[in-house]
């Protein structure tokens, strides 16, 4: 059940009405309804994997209690490692087994040994990387005595499976979400309206911006041999905008949906396209994952405390693991490593925390310096996204090589202009410009349109929302899968 489907448009109001009218504020009923709705939502993808989700939930629930009740450190350690190894084991089998088997076989082939790797024909259970990380953060927090184990199974299961965040995050923390689940929710008008607005903005980002950019990004990336220089640059730009619209749009819909049920989820995006350096970008992009790796990997490794080599080692580890989390492909690993290379100079010169504020806060336009640092950071990320989008390393390398070798040729620009004129048209580029203008104007808020029109009269405000709905109608219908569902 996709967020941008008719099925979800029917599912959500039904659950909403049952939640507020049938449960009548009874916490137990509210959570039970949320759990069954979430399991139904998940089963709509593939009911077989529901058992895996339930098993993973039961495992962390019981090991959590066992750790809390453990009389000795060794017993606590045992339950901790059992949970971690089973969770990572599932992730390893479903997501990474074939990658390792094939990479091992190819490494042996380079040594002159030929083997046929035994690969598994497995479907990746949707959301496995997300709910595994939910569970892991929970057991790690118990192991480190940051939280107590949750004794109520329904409450814990809702924490893992709450349908807005189940398949693609934000990756929640027990310390943030569990207390909200344990507390009776009462209806909050302002929060619900805010949730609806955020859902609308998320749908606009996904359907209008991401899905339309995807058409042209796919066209150019899938036939990259036929294109040169500036067209390949355009393809990379389209993909960068696509992935931002797709994932931040998804996150807005998830956060907005949760607000309808009186629950606040962690923020996942904070206008990363307006970052002034790569460190700021990573504080603003997929925040729930970046902070997860920071808290559960980077800091335990020593963070940026040790010597230079330790800083370099830790930076590479966190970025490469983060890349690998996205998928079993060398392209993601190179994407992660490249971001580490971008990040390291800032870290080593203690400039990684230079930009903690919002760019040009309170001003309409940035300074020239701010503008050029944003442009440079954006272009660096665009370059890195080429690896993320490419089929394999060879594809990425040939894409980059053709991109740079073609930039000097005039015919490349003619080709790009013809592609824009005859295939892309001017409508989508214009909508993208309007989109980034709204993002810029709303960059000091949670999401771009959260404060827009707040002082306007209702008909004017509604006109703005109708305009967004009209854009969704006009540019919709492309039905591209959410990119992060594959992770």
């Amino acid at each position: 059940m996709l967020f941008n489907s008719i099925d979800f448009a029917i599912f959500l109001p039904i659950v909403f009405l049952l939640y507020w009218f049938v449960t009548k504020g009874n916490l137990k009923l509210q959570n039970t309804l949320l759990l069954f709705s979430s399991y139904f939502f998940y089963a709509c993808w593939d009911w077989r994997f529901l058992f895996l989700l339930i098993f993973s939930t039961l495992l962390d629930y019981f090991t959590g209690i066992k750790m809390s009740d453990a009389k000795s450190a060794s017993s606590k350690k045992f339950w901790f490692w059992l949970s971690v190894s089973v969770n990572l084991g599932f992730l390893g089998v479903f997501k990474y087994y074939n990658f390792f088997a094939e990479s091992f076989a190819s490494a042996l082939e380079n040594l002159g040994l030929q083997i046929n790797p035994w690969t598994l024909n497995l479907i990746l259970p949707v959301g496995i990387s997300f709910y595994t990380f939910h569970g892991l953060s929970y057991v790690i927090d118990i192991y480190k005595d940051r939280i107590k184990a949750e004794k109520n199974f329904i409450d814990y299961a809702v924490f893992v499976s709450f349908f807005p965040l189940l398949v693609a995050g934000p990756i929640e923390r027990a310390t943030h979400l569990l207390p909200q689940i344990q507390k009776r929710r009462t209806f909050d008008y302002a929060k619900a309206v805010d949730g609806l607005k955020q859902i609308l903005w998320g749908l606009f980002k996904k359907i209008v911006i991401a899905d339309n950019c995807a058409e042209f990004a796919n066209l150019i990336f899938n036939h990259s041999d036929d294109y040169s220089g500036s067209t390949l640059l355009l393809g990379a730009l389209f993909f960068s905008i696509q992935i931002y619209g797709d994932f931040s749009g998804y996150s807005d819909i998830a956060i907005g949906t949760a607000k309808l049920f009186g629950i606040e989820l962690l923020r996942n995006f904070a206008f990363p396209c307006f970052s002034r350096d790569i460190a700021e970008f990573w504080r603003r992009w997929h925040i729930s994952l970046s902070s997860w790796f920071r808290d559960y990997l980077y800091i335990p490794l020593g963070g940026s405390k040790g010597g230079t080599w330790m800083k370099i080692r830790n930076t590479f580890i966190i970025f490469i693991v983060s890349g690998f989390w996205h998928g079993a492909n060398w392209t993601f690993i190179v994407w992660g490593a490249l971001n580490a290379v971008y990040f390291l100079p800032l870290l080593l010169h203690n400039k990684n925390r230079n930009h903690l504020d919002v760019v040009a806060a309170g001003k309409l336009v940035p300074t020239a310096k701010e503008f050029f640092s944003m442009l440079l950071t954006f272009l660096m990320t665009v370059f890195a996204w080429i690896f993320f989008r490419a089929e394999n390393i060879q594809h990425a390398m040939s894409y980059i090589s053709d991109l740079f070798s073609g930039l000097a040729s005039k015919s490349s620009y003619v080709e790009t202009m013809n592609l824009i004129r005859w295939q892309i048209g001017y409508g989508i580029p214009l909508v993208i410009v309007l989109f980034f203008s709204l993002e810029w104007l709303g960059r000091e808020n949670q999401y771009a349109i959260s404060q827009l029109g707040k002082t306007w009269k209702r008909p004017m405000r509604h006109a703005l929302y109708y305009a967004l709905i009209f854009a969704i109608f006009w540019f919709g219908g492309k039905e591209q899968q959410f990119i992060y569902f594959q992770f």
């Binding site: 008719i6 209806f187 309206v193 006009w474 219908g477």
Partner: protein, 319 residues
């Protein structure tokens, strides 16, 4: 109280949209149905739904029907009303849908001329030129039944007003053009036919140079439907005639299982005693000047062929 306010405000926001769904759907469908652009499929659907396609002789088939068989020539010769229902780019599966919709709004014709060819019993995967269905498909069970097996529309498109127009930018632009520009009454196809005044396009030479060959796979569901249709014609006492219209002779070699397909038509025609006029070896097929590509006659070729067909059908009637 807060919930009540929320529900009232939400309903106030969405109700205008819901109320507008049906009228807007009607307006968009109306203006899209005014299209008289290539390949003229919408005009044929309009004639069907407005009961303007009454005929004694109905011609069914693909573009090899609508661009090859001129109803006016047949009418003059046979002294009967003729309408060409040829459907661009589609096989028998959707030609049958058109037959069903035609019968909903018209009396049964006396004769059906079915233009068969190598592609007739194949089935495409994607719904080619799906915009032709947009104005007529809402709550239409036949269109849903016969188009839903293609990659094209979603289930909700058949039931929820307006939804199917989302993202159909080409159709939406056509609608705007039809709504705001001066409308011309001139039709693209006349009684479903248009002879295409086009020069030879060299696609065949390109295919030959690239050693392209085609293996046609007959679709099992289409085969069943095809025989059911034959049975239906027998039950309603409608005369059914198979016609294989001319193909450029060299182009025929590109289809590796052509003889198998031809023998299927011959077997069926013998089994059900259906007259089969095969023009694939006609003298027209030897000369490129009558074609614009290997499968399609040009205007001149269509005129000559239509006269030949009319004469052969007339001779048959006399006998």
């Amino acid at each position: 109280m807060q919930m009540k306010t929320f529900l009232i405000h939400t309903l106030k926001f969405f109700i205008p949209l819901l109320i507008l769904l049906i009228p807007l759907d009607y307006v968009l469908s109306y203006y899209l149905s005014q299209s008289n652009e290539y390949p003229g499929e919408i005009e044929v659907w309009n004639d069907i739904y407005q009961s303007k396609a009454t005929c004694d002789v109905a011609v069914y088939g693909s573009s090899r029907a609508w661009a090859h068989i001129n109803p006016e020539i047949l009418k003059d010769s046979l002294h009967a009303e003729v309408y060409n229902f040829g459907m661009d780019g589609h096989n028998f599966w959707l030609q049958y849908l058109r037959h069903l919709e035609f019968l909903k709004h018209h009396p049964q014709p006396k004769t059906i001329i079915l233009s068969v060819d190598v592609f007739t019993l194949q089935k495409r995967t994607e719904l080619y030129q799906q915009s032709q269905f947009l104005p007529y498909m809402l709550w239409n069970a036949n269109i849903r039944k016969y188009t839903s097996s293609y990659v094209g529309f979603k289930k909700s498109d058949y039931y929820i007003p307006l939804l199917r127009y989302s993202g159909k930018t080409t159709s939406l632009k056509t609608i705007l053009k039809n709504a705001f520009s001066k409308h011309t009454e001139e039709k693209y196809r006349k009684r479903g036919f248009l002879g295409l005044d086009r020069a030879w396009n060299f696609d065949f030479e390109k295919a030959k140079a690239a050693n392209v060959t085609y293996q046609i796979k007959m679709d099992s569901a289409t085969l069943v439907l095809f025989e059911n249709f034959i049975q239906e014609c027998r039950n309603t006492k409608t005369e059914l005639i198979f016609v294989y219209t001319p193909e450029y002779i060299e182009g025929q070699k590109l289809f590796v299982n052509r003889s198998e397909l031809m023998s299927y038509y011959k077997t069926i025609s013998e089994k059900y005693a259906i007259p089969f006029y095969d023009y694939s070896g006609d003298s027209l097929c030897l000369d490129k000047k009558y074609f614009y590509n290997a499968s399609h006659l040009n205007k001149q070729g269509a005129e000559i062929f239509s006269r030949k067909l009319a004469s052969d059908l007339k001779a048959r009637t006399k006998n």
